[in-house]
Amino acid sequence: MSNWHWQEGEYEVVRTCTWSPPGEHPVGWSLLLYIKDGKLHHVEGDPKNPLTQGRVSAKFLELPEYNNSPERIIYPMKRDPKYRGDGSKWERITWDEAYDIICKKTRQVQKDYGPESIMTFIGTGRDLWHTVPKITFSAFESPNFNYPHNGWSCYGPRSSICVYVLGAGYPELDYATAFPEKRYDDPNYTLSKVALIVGKNPLVSNPDGLFGHAIVDMLKRGTELIVVDPRVTWLASRAKFFLQLRPGTDAALFLSMCNVIIDEDLYDHEFCENWVYGFNEFAERCREYPPSLAAKITGVDEELIKATARYWAIEKPGSMTWGLAIDQKCNGIQTAHVVLLFCAIVGNLDVPGGVLLGGSDREAPTSWWGWDELDDSIKAKRIGAAEYPAVSTACSTTQPDMAMDAIATDKPYPIKMTFTMSSNPIACPAAQPEWVSKVMQRPDLNVFADLVMTPSCASYGDLFLPVASSGEKDGLVATHYGALTLFVAALVKGVQTGECKSDDEIMLDLGWRLNPSKFPWKSLHEFLTWELNGYGVEGTWEDLRDSETGFVTPAYEYEKYAYGLQTWNGEPGFGTPSGMVEAYCQRFKDWGDDPMPYYEEPPYSPVSTPDLFEKYPFVMTTGARSWSYFHSEQRHISDLRDMDPWPKVQMNPEDAERLGLHDKQWVWVENMLGKCREMLDVTPIVKPGVIMAKHGWWYPEKGPDDTGHGPFGVFDANINNLMPHDKFGKLGFGTPFKCMIANVYAAEGGPDFEAGWPKENNYLDFQKAEK
């Protein structure tokens, strides 16, 4: 019997692994697709997956409803740019027509303005971080690959800092991925005594290469937790040490904990003397942050700070996983730097049960595909690259705020065409979304590749390419975009929906038409084999699909720095200019910042803007993830929406009582930059004085036409109305999405469409004809 395809009663069964769509990080849920009459009927978890072991999230259990939903767009379509914003003007076209429109416009822009006047847009975390860059650099031959999240405030900063400070790929929790058979019981693995979780709720978010519930597996075996979070998450409730800090103050906390470890002589002398560059200067810096000061800044008890630091220094090995809360602040680079040093100085880097490190020197190696082959004159035109080398040295993208400014102003040159794959800027990553929706009217042609009509495409899209989902495509899933490959698995196509194509197929189709020499593969499978081999796995994609589990975990080498595996010349050490972990980072100094970590108040806070804080007296964090949704996706899936029906803002009961507000009432969340309407969730999960507001909201049931709040009511619901454009750290990274200020007050009623959902739309009836 085939390992991946069989008949079971009335069902055809196809084994696949998953990445995105639906929106998801590379968790690699292995699924058995149960197919009936050519449609996905239901899914079951595949117990043969050594990491997830048959477990499946609610979102991926809902894959059939997602793939078969009436909102799904399954044929290419176009709309005359003069009718942007009008949902009734879309018309069905063929793939050839769609590609002809793209190719014709590409040639015209390349000729009249230069290829740099084409910009691509991408969404976070998805199965696209090789696809979109390759389309950008090799098909369009433009240097402008853009992730439209202000200050690049997700993953890129953490990953880049790891490159600059450690000369290594992204650090990850050691959850025994390298031992697929015995896992935690393998003699070459050591269970972490303690796991540090900073600004992250991985049970829900499963980010980038971490299956979140692996932490629960470790807890059951005795791992203790240190959780640094402004909210009492489930993990915080199980933590030995829970440090509930004021949002945005992490750097002060970690500097003071390093201070305790160094001051009390609890650090790993051998490691620090041999492998930490600038240790003495760093020790001096830490002395500026005694626990008493950090307690005042962060709101965390001084004795708790000391006890946590001591425990971390003594109980080894300690592992660590960090979240985008690190990135979403102007002080994020310094925060990432000091968290890495907190791991390094006690000897937890790259040891079994410690902090895993990738061997690479680039932020996400797959996101550089095609870059090297661009002409130097084109490379030099990448927007923001010269101004922010800390961004452009490790990341292959633009600086996102400057990219949006370029579209708005035609400076340094106009952007005439955009290509957006699975990104929904005005509902999710972009600050000041109403302004962005106006700016994005400026290019002549805006192409979207997606699964449903989004607020962004409704507002400014001209061409829609329908994308295949998990279960509908052959592909690969691998963690950390080539920077730290913990596993690789095969995505296998079970069904075809309408005329949808996978992102990789769209990439190849465009490449073969526009610049075939840079797309030498003759078929999708030939390309996937090339990709697979690039992750260090031998054999063909078909071999992987046909194998017993369809899933491989490349061998992992611990303590690479000791054996010459972390440098490019084979010498022991780290892949940095000094060959050491850089507590003192000369490159940061060269780029105009302090070479060592420091704490800086958020740009808007009770301390830095006391006058504004009087008017907007809450410290606001945003963006906590939901079991139901991946950022701005899935609001149209009924079982998921039932679990989390409205955008919520969490507030402590003391504050609610003082303000005369009650649970489940609609409120305005407002500051000097804008406002949005959310539903109040009164809960002790946040401290008094702090609120957490959900992100990524829009209302599919509201329809695509602007009735006063933008397409699908997006500007009523979008918390990013309150976020600043062009406000990020000195090195080009970090917008304060997680440490803003705001006020909350009662709204007169909820959104006008509160009663009843989901309401089926009929504005794209022609898309349903053959479903």
């Binding site: 069902y11 149960y34 009927h41 239901h42 079951e44 978890g45 117990p47 048959g54 477990r55 499946v56 999230s57 609610a58 259990l61 809902e62 049970l203 829900v204 979140g212 519930h213 629960v216 597996d217 807890l219 059951k220 009492v232 489930w234 915080a236 409730s237 829970f242 079991w627 139901s628 009924s638 079982d639 039932d642 679990m643 809960t683 002790p684 999960i685």
Partner: protein
């Protein structure tokens, strides 16, 4: 007709580690194709509430409803109950009560359910 549950069987929940991820709820709801307002197993929440010693208590406890037939038909085919299969924390175990009682004494914060109904309210759809 759906197979009736065996009265000598039940469901053990280790709620020390239930994270409230909803995989059990969705698994069951799909299997019986339940309407929006119905559940075959429903997660209840207690907390977060701060204890006098400063620690936090937060519990999620799934409760099977009268829809549940302990997946007797699936288990007869050698599969796990659908909620047990997909539970992200491996905190659900369905089986003979006497075996579950033994597992229960292993550590704190566990709850054992007997069969919830001897009727068939909904037919499994797969």
């Amino acid at each position: 007709m759906a197979e009736k549950p065996n009265m000598a069987e039940g469901m053990l929940i280790d709620y020390s580690y239930c994270t409230g991820c909803h995989s059990c709820e969705i698994s069951c709801k799909q299997r019986f194709d339940l309407p929006s307002e119905r559940q075959g197993i429903k997660i209840h929440k207690h907390g977060p509430i701060q204890n006098p010693d400063g620690s936090w208590e937060l519990n999620y406890i799934p409760i099977p409803t009268e829809v549940c037939n302990l997946c007797a038909d699936r288990r007869a085919e050698g599969k796990k109950a659908r909620c047990e299969q997909h539970c992200q924390s491996f905190v659900i175990k369905v089986g003979p009560l006497d075996e579950l009682v033994k597992l229960m004494s292993d550590h704190k914060k566990q709850v054992l359910y007997n069969v919830t109904s001897d009727k068939t309210l909904y037919e499994p759809q797969f």
